[in-house]
Amino acid sequence: MVVATPPSPSPTRETGAAEDLLRVANLGVRLDRVPILEDVNFHVRRGTTLAIVGPNGAGKTTLFRVLLGLVPHTGTVEWSGPVRIGYVPQSFVVTDVPITVRDFLGFKSGANVEESLAAVGLGGAALPKRLDVLSGGEMQRVLIAWAVLDRPNVLLFDEPTAMVDIGSQDMLYETLNRLEKNSNITVFLITHDIHVVSQYSDAVLALNRTVRFFGASSRLSEPDLLMEIFGSGSGLAEHKHDFGARGFR
């Protein structure tokens, strides 16, 4: 039986605000009577990045669905002030639908499509392209452009680099870095890349149905903690991302 580590205070960025944007208490989700999440407690400060890690089936995506208000749950999910959430789903495969980038981004009416595309490093030339001919990296950028179209103050990324190569991953994190630097957005990031977590997020929430760890992401390099979260055989190997001088965080 695994005992959840009690939540520790979320670290504050040196320049960041100290106000909590989200407080989650005693959260539980059951789907078809099967417990997916149990007694989940954590809080997130405004303008910080929370990385969410855990094995497959740990309830990470379900947690996002709770935050989006898409699944019934017990416990409390309390946002401080109005939130506008931008969401990038785990899988988004377009086959056989004659839809262009312009069509897709145009679904959010009144939004500035070209500005959002520019923010993710894609020019207007991408607008007439069909979604089903985009590369994995381009598609992820379009999805990020979609997520930031209506100027959200919260971004949820469900494994944003799961389907792209390493070169495109670097570009995507650069994009996220730039977006975050330019606006005081709070980011929730589901990832399996421990290096990205430890280097580019403020706090980490390790889930496996219950909270296995919640605290400063720098602690994730501790071998004992890694083993507790991911089981035996877990460890860190040398693997560098180049996100520029500042890094993702």
Binding site: R65, L68, L70, I85, Y87, P89, S91, F92, V94, D96, V97, P98, I99, T100, R102, D103, F104, G106, F107, K108, P128, K129, R130, W146
Partner: protein, 332 residues
Amino acid sequence: MTESAAYGLVAGIFVGFAAGYVGSLMVLKRMALVGDALSHVALPGLALGILFNFNPFLGAFAFLFAAAILTWYIERTTRLFPESIIGVLFVTALAVGILITPEVDLLEALFGDITTVTLVDALLAVGISVLIVFVSRLVYRRVVLSILSEELARSTGVNVALVNFVYLLLVTVVVAVGIKIVGTVLVGALVIVPAAAMKNVSRSLSSYALLSGLTGIASAGSGILLADYLRLPAGPLVVTVGTVIFAGALVAGWIASRQACPGDGVLFAIAGVVDSVAAVRGRAPLARVTHRPACLLSGAAPCPREIGMERWSTIRIWMSRFTMSSGFWRTS
């Protein structure tokens, strides 16, 4: 053309557009055969109308509406896909319909009869078709977004269950009005064939919906006119014209896929037809057409270059010669 045929033509044009427009969503949702199956659910309603002497199409609509609600409810409360549910409803309704439809009226119920369209029928068909297109436009983006990712749609506030219900209702209504034009057996084709044809040549969502609707008009209009001219039933001719357009679009799509600019495929198909007509009328093929209109028509991004028609000249001249020498135009 008789008065009734003229009413039928007007009704057919409007219903054709609405059917093509809604059909474009059905093809995207991979529910191409659902319209076909759903149409058969109307048969018991038609039969009851004939037996108890009220408008059979009211009965058809009532049965289709009930089937749509039942499908939507079962889909929400079970893990069955709509096509499975409609599949079960379809065979049940067909069996009941055949049992209770008087044999003498069965043929009209199955294949429609455009020659019996009255002014009221035509006005009703026009009004309902306009309403269908209007509502379809309202929900189109939401339906497509839920096709792409239900999660993404829900995260942006789309009520996916409600959108699916409205969509099913649209399919139901368009099938109900289409039955008068082509009958229960062929109405599935009226809905699906134009959309399936245009999917091959469309490069954007907006052009796809519009081209599907226009192809619906072309199929229904040409089919009904041909039926009047050749004294043949309209339903099968409407579907046949649609299938010919589908074959042409397949060829155009195939050519487009081999070209640097997708508009060329569409251009080729259009230019071939235009030149054949020009040849029949004793005129020289059109001197020069740019590929830009074809690009725009298919929704593709126009390429910066312009392609002179010289590129296609050999094939077009061959087509014109074939048209002239075969004497095809004289036989009709």
